[in-house]
Symmetry: C2
Subunit: 354 residues, 2 copies
């Protein structure tokens, strides 16, 4: 079978080795002790490899795409929040009242919201893309969350959103998400793609109590037992236990990598989408920057599997893209250092004695 | 004895309890699960307590003050870099070619350089304040680094710089530093003020090899044995084993706190100055935000003593203020969240079920 998904996977190549080498060499010439900027140096080298040029362009403009969807598994009592909060929060994003809006404003990023599966009819609004694949998933404990065709459609929706945002000039894509109960689907996906047990990757989401957590672990366990997902079959796994926003985010990640634009990952929902994306295209991890470490336990398992180290670790667990966009200035500073700093030669600064 | 230093210490009061309580309460009303923004919530509450209002003003404009000075202990072979690099780097800062310039530009902060003791006559330049107390310290292994009067003058210079920058409208002060061999003086200061042994708080600075590190530890040990500093006597300790930039930074920190402006700390030099400042005025720590964790071991010891947790941990060890100004957008985001986010009531978002 061929289509947008397969073409996108095929377009994801390795980092540009010449640009990587040039960036690493240039870091050694800048007016600072070698290695003294730590992770900033590594990020700058990665950005050069992604863009295929040294110095790489600044990751500007940057955009947070908040993919919103609902979850049939909400019926299993995995969250104390009513499902209508998903739609209410979409309205809050559009009105610029949410955390991701405040942080994005600070970081100089824009926010767009993508309805890929909210279980309500949403009024049209500036900044809201209507890309509903279906009005929420089915309950994964009773059957597949969605059909294979719907999973593909959601992934390809994410690819198209990434392509459109890059086409509009964005040079950094930031993952965002909204969906009451979506940490349950995240736990199931991360369990499959990292080979973890449900208890290890199921977290407290918005802050649930012990009995609710125990129920949530049992829900994930039952879903995994029902579907017996194959981690080498990402579309099948997404259709069985995924969310529509997870599928779309997996496509968004693949789409950014295919267009050689860095993708800044938020918390556990983004991490679940990223391990799915890696199952489609192993090389995709080279294009990812982990913005922060969510307190959700699945995030760390997924980042380990992806070989990514988060930039920030501030005890955040909100989602929406809030932690990723908070890390944007760090990524931008990495690019700016490589582009703007003087070298020992150009500044007339003496080197250390051999 | 009374003077600017004593008046400044007397002006440092506790955080505003009413603003702290109001900020904590407002965090609970914003459209997010309680506590889900982690450290951002704590920072916003601290900023409210510092400013005495909720929401607090954004930390803008912000300025990095890079205090530059030389060190007589350089003669003991503690660094492979020639001393003239201090003056050369001052020229690099003024020409906007250093890391701190690139990162400050990204973060929207300005940079000012303060010559508080460079061992060379520096040409006047835009952005360079000539506040030389003496042209570098004396070698602390042979006698006091400076006189008590010079230490006081350097501290009061830092207080005045802070006062002037706040007077000019700055709402966030960021510590910066430059001085070849200044990690040696930092280690000595941190050893005194935290009661640590030299080997525990002496690091590799710009990246020295094992023999140089061993020599550096021995240099610190000899200096401490010679001076037998009293940690309850910060002016005496600064004059014995400090640097002119450490003394000025201690004053800068006190000056910011006295004017109820947050002070964002950089790495080990700033941490050494901060433990000295705390010896002058214990309450000063409430006004400090640790921008990042330097890889220098003394930084962690000092931050522990101050009760501060760093915002970033990116393996950086450059100084100049580079790590602190990199954290500025996080601090600003914390303030912006508290100021700009909608509440559950105002946005019409349902709360979780009890």
């Amino acid at each position: 079978m061929t289509g947008l998904l397969e073409d996108t996977i095929a377009a994801i190549g390795p980092l540009d080795a010449a640009a990587v080498a040039a960036a690493r060499e240039r870091q050694g010439l800048l007016t600072k002790p070698s290695g003294s900027l730590g992770r900033l140096e590594d990020v700058s080298v990665q950005l050069a490899g992604i863009a295929g040029q040294c110095p790489p362009p600044l990751p500007e403009p940057a955009v947070v795409a908040v993919f919103a969807a609902d979850h049939g598994v909400h019926a299993q009592g995995v969250s104390p929040w009513p499902q209508e909060v998903t739609a209410q929060m979409v309205a809050n994003f559009v009105a610029s009242g949410a955390a991701v809006n405040a942080i994005a404003t600070q970081a100089g990023a824009s926010v767009c919201v993508v309805d890929v599966g909210v279980a309500a009819d949403l009024p049209t609004a500036q900044g809201l893309l209507s890309r509903k694949v279906r009005p929420g998933t089915a309950d994964m404990t009773e059957g597949p969350a969605m059909t294979l065709e719907e999973a593909r459609l959601a992934v390809e929706t994410g690819i198209k959103v990434a392509a459109d945002l890059v086409e509009e000039g964005n040079r950094c894509l930031i993952t965002g998400d909204m969906g009451i109960a979506n940490t349950t689907a995240s736990a199931a996906l991360i369990a499959v793609f990292t080979g973890s047990t449900p208890a290890l990757v199921t977290g407290r989401g918005t802050g649930i109590d012990d009995p609710t957590w125990a129920r949530k672990v049992e829900v994930v366990r039952r879903a995994l037992e029902l579907h017996r997902c194959d981690p080498a079959a990402p579309l099948g796994t997404l259709s069985a236990v995924g969310g529509l926003e997870h599928a779309a985010l997996a496509g968004f990640i693949l789409g950014g990598a295919a267009r050689r634009v860095p993708v800044l990952l938020d918390g556990v929902i983004a991490c679940a989408a990223a391990v799915a994306a890696r199952a489609f295209a192993p090389q995709v991890a080279d294009y990812l920057i982990a913005g922060h470490l969510s307190t959700e336990p699945g995030a760390l398992r997924a980042l380990d599997a992806l070989g990514l180290q988060p930039l920030l670790d501030l005890g955040m667990r909100l989602g929406e893209g809030s932690g990723a966009v908070l890390a944007l200035p760090v990524v931008a500073a990495a690019a700016r250092v490589l582009r703007d700093m003087a070298t020992f030669d150009s500044a007339g600064v003496s080197s250390e004695k051999a």
